[in-house]
Homo-oligomer: 318 residues x 4
């Protein structure tokens, strides 16, 4: 079977995050980041960013630990879904079909080699604002702009810690159909970080080497804003509301993302990011490889990478 | 008695606005503009912008009409207050002393020649945030950043309609100690608009000719934001929340203010403005006079002045 | 032959623009927009935006009229190129192969039904900065940021006038593989504007009905900036340098693009645009259709569409 | 003699900076910061920011060392000038009258207790743009917006190193008429930094304790931009042009200034700063005192103060 190198995965759809501080995490996502509550179910609250055309962006679940339970990817079509499920099954990492979460059709569950759980689906209900307050003025917009807290626009990417980056990047690249846009290669040849993309965004999934050698941990999940100034205002807002700022705002050399890293009250690291107007348009993009020496220079404008950035991660889901 | 030409009036302090739609106006000022409620008293709600060091910025009062009841000016010192009260009394436009609103000491009431009521005071309690939520992280800030709606920073200026601009501008200039920074002179020599400032802001009070010949009407009150992008986001927010946008965003040639004009639900015109980083530093500033021909070119980038801008005003207070 | 609906065209590559004011147009593109000169050849100057990974973005050619001679599209692969050339030839609108411009491989020339000339190619040299001044500090960037004039980032889209929108939109959609993301339908059923996209940008090619019934005219070419504030600064810059501003800055309801329209000195309309962080991610996007009544409301925040917007166009190339 | 506490000094006017790398420093100020050359005289080049109403902002002088030779302050009036010269002479720190630099009238030279040289003057020619290119479109603007490099707006403040902060702050406060808006007090009671202002800007002159115990050194001179995003773009520009970035962009807790510190090629530290829309309006402002513990937290969002910030300074002028 020959698989197209790209375009079978449309984009990241949603993720499920666990938190031992459910109330305060809910406050963070709704009042600080500005997500909108969609519905509740058991120990979970479904939340959405205003620019998401699908039903929800985040399933926030009360749990005795923090961590990411699962990331959902939307396929480009039913054929793409079937093609990729076959490839996943062939890889031996498939788990199986299940009913989707609310708004989502048949969903195929699988794991990456490091053990992170992912889902793939095609059918998805488009969001219909249930009230005047949520209804946008312009018909090409999913939901009214919330103007509450950071008002993040959309889910941007997930960054996984993995004991060994290479097989995980290869899995996403070859089995799902992605491309490595940038990576870090240490002096001994180890790939210690890899950024992969499915469509015109320059990355959607990242693997970072887990220095503790653990499996299945989360480094962070990122939400995108419209401008870099939004990230600066986000820092002001987090400062005034007592949200822990780990590092930033600053600009990554890799991908040139403008970033702010905070910990939501449950302990999961959240990135607020702005890719400016960057699009990855080149169909023959060549992977950019950063050396250990280049990395030692710090971020784009010289900020040194903070120690906790290499150690703090959220535990795997048992 | 020789009066200093400037510096006796420190800044605009607060204003009282009347509205026949009290609930919806309150929603507008708190949820759309992001002001914070301080207290209630009778038919009035006291509200504040987050960067105001004084107790309140706006007294919003339910009434059977819209309109501005009064603007409060803070004197630079007790001596400055006394000096200016003497000058006002000499002008024959004084009304008299009264107890100030909450947080404000002895207040002298007077009228400009066109009949708008103003107040002058010196004593003023500094705002103390009553809760953790309102307490800022940085001790050089009055209140936590609200991150709610437009989150306007501070009261910027008041723009009065007046049957005859010249005597009103002269009153503010000579009796209160101000300077005309810019003005419009029609071909027949009539001054049809005048911008006056007390300190380093390039204007605080504006008079615009009332084409209807009425007295005591309000053109608009303006709140300042940090950036021009904030004004663009404000337009997005107003659009999604059904707030009537009259004109803008665009840039005035006069004063180079970036503006958006909306009507709050009670019918009063509100400007959201950004003066960028403009400061009026020159001690020997020479009044800029714009001609009728220059005005006919429209705003800075060519937007034509909208018809209602010359007709819509809020009624005088009987 | 079954063609994939999307993804065979990677993006707009470059365009050739004619100008009767060659020196002043060159000044405009280099000093006002901030493009960089790459090379000269005959009556043409090759210019590039700083974020373009290919050799050049614009071929500016001295001519006795203004107008757009040609737009180049880059295919996703050699196979995609061949597939689409076969489809174009089948449509009867092919012109034939030619050698590409500098940096570009074999190029297939064709016309849309309205007569605009386009090119399709696959091979393309990546830009190598020829000097230290042009070399970027970060290896994932094509060229150093010019910080000169508007410093536009990249070519965004082309907007053609066409006597009849429908067959032209259908040609781009069916023969090249595109999707209509938004369109205007008049009360009589006429499609008077259509926005089409090839990849994750929400549009790349636009057709607008030519009220004069002419064929082959250009409405405008658009360059993208990073932020909306960049567009505001562009307006300031154009104002100070005497560049004619036709309308804006304001926000289109359609596509929500923040825009500024100016005429370059040769008479071609140029849009400076910012799509904010908007991406078209949905694989099952449904065309948004705007009605005549919706269009009559003006742009997003209420600006009325300027008359010249419906009449000014640059002539076809004989 | 009783002196008014404020308002006799209108603002910082200009400064003279020495550089051992005259050509590269000139390139930095004109091409990176976007200043405009006004004239040359001997080893000096006069330069101006676009929003300066006076003739020049910076006199850049070739010299065998770096350092600040002198800062010019403009008095509010002739009477204010005379009043303050008398006070300076009474303090014993006066040097004497001299002819002013081009465009400046009679100038009184003096030193602060730490030995930094300052000047005071009243007469000042307003800038007249000598060419169409420099002439602004709007008559309330000093010069056309350059749109070149960072395009800094105006001189913002000077930050002096001093062996002992307290007597220097007291001199500026009492002899010139200023107010301490913020300061740092160490646990042993030492004032290690003091921010003073003359008018509505929240600071104009800063003293920072010189840990080396030297006299007369410069910490930095700062230029203001319109927005924080301008500072981010400045960082991008400096990165691409090889200008050394010492620290930032980030936000100071003190004064809440958004900052970027770079070294111009001659070795002088230059700050690019944005005070957002912050104005110091309160006539009864109370000095904010930051403790040693508060300072240990780093800057506003947590950035630790860089070591060189406490050691790098430019030498005194012999």
């Amino acid at each position: 079977m020959s698989l197209p190198p790209l375009h079978d995965i449309a984009h990241l759809g949603y993720f499920e995050l666990l938190t031992p501080e459910a109330d305060r995490s809910l406050w963070f996502f709704t009042q600080v980041l500005g997500l909108t509550e969609v519905s509740r179910e058991g120990n979970s609250v479904y939340l959405r960013t205003w620019d998401d055309y699908e039903r929800h962006t985040l399933k926030l679940t009360a749990h005795d630990t923090s961590g990411i339970r699962r990331v959902g990817l939307r396929a480009e079509s039913q054929a793409a879904l079937e093609r990729r499920v076959a490839a996943i099954e062939a890889s031996g990492l498939g788990v199986g079909w299940k009913d989707g979460d609310p708004g989502i059709g048949a969903t195929y569950v699988f794991r990456d080699p490091d053990g992170h759980e992912l889902e793939l689906y095609w059918e998805s209900e488009w969001y219909e604002p249930p009230s005047d307050e949520l209804r946008p003025a312009l018909k090409n917009q999913a939901q009214a702009y919330p103007a509450r807290g950071v008002s993040v626009r959309r889910l941007d990417h997930v960054n996984y810690l993995a004991a060994d980056v290479t097989p995980n990047g290869a899995f996403i690249r070859d089995v799902l159909g992605a491309r490595v846009t940038e990576q870090i290669m240490l002096d001994d040849g180890t790939i210690s970080g890899q950024w992969l993309h499915f469509a015109s965004k320059s990355y959607d999934v990242v693997y970072a080497q887990d220095w503790t050698g653990s499996h299945g941990r989360l480094h962070h999940v990122a939400f995108a804003t419209d401008t870099r100034e939004d990230i600066l205002k986000a820092a002001d807002t987090c400062l005034d509301r007592g949200v822990f700022i780990e590092t930033g705002p600053h600009k990554h050399a890799i991908q040139q993302t403008f970033f702010l890293y905070v910990y939501e009250p449950g302990g999961n690291r959240i990135e607020l990011c702005n890719p400016v107007a960057r699009l990855l348009l080149a169909p023959d993009w060549r992977t950019i490889t950063w050396t250990q020496a280049e990395r030692a220079k710090g971020q784009a404008w010289g900020l040194k990478t903070i120690e906790s950035f290499h150690t703090h991660g959220t535990p795997p889901i048992p």
